[in-house]
Subunit: 312 residues, 2 copies
């Protein structure tokens, strides 16, 4: 198993990423190899400083990098030698089994769709994120920003993707899938939500538990919450801002601690032909480590194969 | 000035509403009269119990009431003698200058549009809510649920309505109006948000400060945040759930205290031909008192007249 990791992406790259890779290495077994993609001249000093044997990793040297503010499509096309573009090339060629980066999210999305491509039958891949649950554990929210406008059949597919992720990676048996809406009743919602409800109610692909509301994100009503990427992105950023607020206010609590994205790794792109994870821009070594372990889980459980099978 | 108040609406009606009316009375001057609409046989004992002179209020006796779970349109049509329907009848006839209720929100919205009607030129009235700001004071979020699907010109109008409310009632000079979106850049967003941005950028009706994101709800980037009612309702319910969570966790903080809806009164319906306010279902006497004072402010500042003028 080869887990690809972009060393150049993220606000604290390359150092935080390399430190995360070292931490991840401790948790991986012999056959699970990390492939660090980036400027090796920047990687090696960090390894030396940490007294870490460089032979534990594999390396693909790149000299270009895509910045956080760059236009995703332009950057991917104009910087074929950037760590993100090279990572996707390796993923496409099967030289790595997964690819993760805490860099430019848009470039990661575009790169995934350009290189390994969308799984046949899937209308649009989406971005998912883990949300802490009050009772413990985590649920999944998707889409959180890949598709600002979604049609009902696209949302139905997000339900299928989320269900498979929850079942395989979060190890939730028969996950409860819900639709984010503005009321519990079937007839509530905007036009898209109202048209999505019967599709989800009648699907045989997952256990639909109906509509949930903004107040239900963290409670136990559903394991997977589906929404369009516009709503999901606003909800996600609002939740993050609350977490930051509790930190600033000095509130300490086990539940709020679990808002810390570091514990979850990153946001998987679901619906493409390989495991791809986008890390938070401010990823710390712990976040990177967990992103690597999340990559491993996605490879090991053959999530992508299972998604392909569901959409055949 | 006659301020109409539905005594029958709300989870703790009629007692909490009558107690709120008594508290409001202390803050009103001689010419500002409260008109209590509901079953007088339920009102009088509460006044007696409180040793409150019943002559301070005016009364309109009704024997029917609309329940929280009733279908809004059906209830308004089938219960013309309910406190909400009678309240709107009085408002339409000019016998009261404003109408407020903590009862069935849907019936309040339908009743407002059926009775006093939408102001000419306004596509759709909307529901607004106050949000506490970290720096102190409050901002306005609209729409929070009256219109799940909104077109760009409707959102532009919400900006005009929010601007006038912020200026007149919140007394913010030249309010900064923003569009809730998933990125700060002009080209970000779903189709509706992308089409709304240039309309807001080019308007002469308010000071548009661009897009804000989910994380900006409580910070100082904007005084008025405009979104469709689907997004706004989810955002509002999520914020409420966070507030409840901080209470449950025992976090005490001045900012979180200001999440308490009680301090703000209710949610004004903007865009109809009279001041109408919907209170929170769980309204306490303090919330009712503040809803009455908010009604008074809306009458006193002639907000409706100013809105009419803006849409002429």
């Amino acid at each position: 198993m080869k887990i690809g990791l972009d060393i150049m992406g993220g606000d604290y790259a390359p150092k935080a990423i390399v430190l995360g890779a070292i931490a991840a290495h401790e948790a991986l077994s012999a056959g699970e190899r990390l492939v660090l993609i980036g400027d090796t001249s920047l990687i090696k000093p960090v390894l030396a400083e940490q007294g870490f044997n460089p032979d534990h990793f594999e390396y693909v040297h790149t000299e270009e990098a895509i910045g956080m503010g760059e236009h995703p499509t332009k950057a991917i096309v104009q910087k074929p030698n950037s760590s993100i573009a090279v990572g996707f090339q390796l993923l496409k060629e099967g030289k790595i089994d997964s690819f993760a980066s805490a860099g430019n999210s848009g470039a990661m999305l575009v790169g995934a769709v350009f290189s390994v491509k969308t799984i046949p039958g899937i209308i649009r891949p989406c971005l998912s994120t883990l949300v802490p649950k009050l009772k413990g554990g985590a649920g999944l929210l998707l889409d959180v920003g890949a598709n600002a406008d979604c049609k009902p059949d696209t949302l139905l597919q997000f339900g299928i993707l989320g269900n498979l992720y929850a079942e395989n990676i979060l190890q939730i048996a028969n996950p409860r899938v819900a639709l984010m809406n503005i009321g519990e009743e079937e007839e509530k919602g905007n036009m898209v939500a109202m048209a999505t409800f019967p599709l989800m109610r009648d699907t045989r692909f997952f256990n639909f538990v109906g509509n949930v509301e903004g107040r239900d994100l963290f409670n136990d009503k559903a394991d997977v919450i589906v929404c369009d990427g516009f709503t999901g992105n606003i909800v996600l950023k609002m939740a993050e801002s609350f977490y930051i607020l509790t930190l600033k206010k000095g509130f300490k609590d086990e539940f709020f601690d679990r808002f810390n994205y570091e514990k979850y790794g990153g946001s998987p792109i679901l619906g493409v032909n390989a495991p791809v994870i986008i890390g938070h821009g401010i990823s710390s070594p712990e976040a990177v480590k967990n992103m690597v372990l999340q990559s491993k889980d996605m490879i090991e459980t053959q999530l992508v194969e299972k998604i392909k099978k569901a959409f055949k």
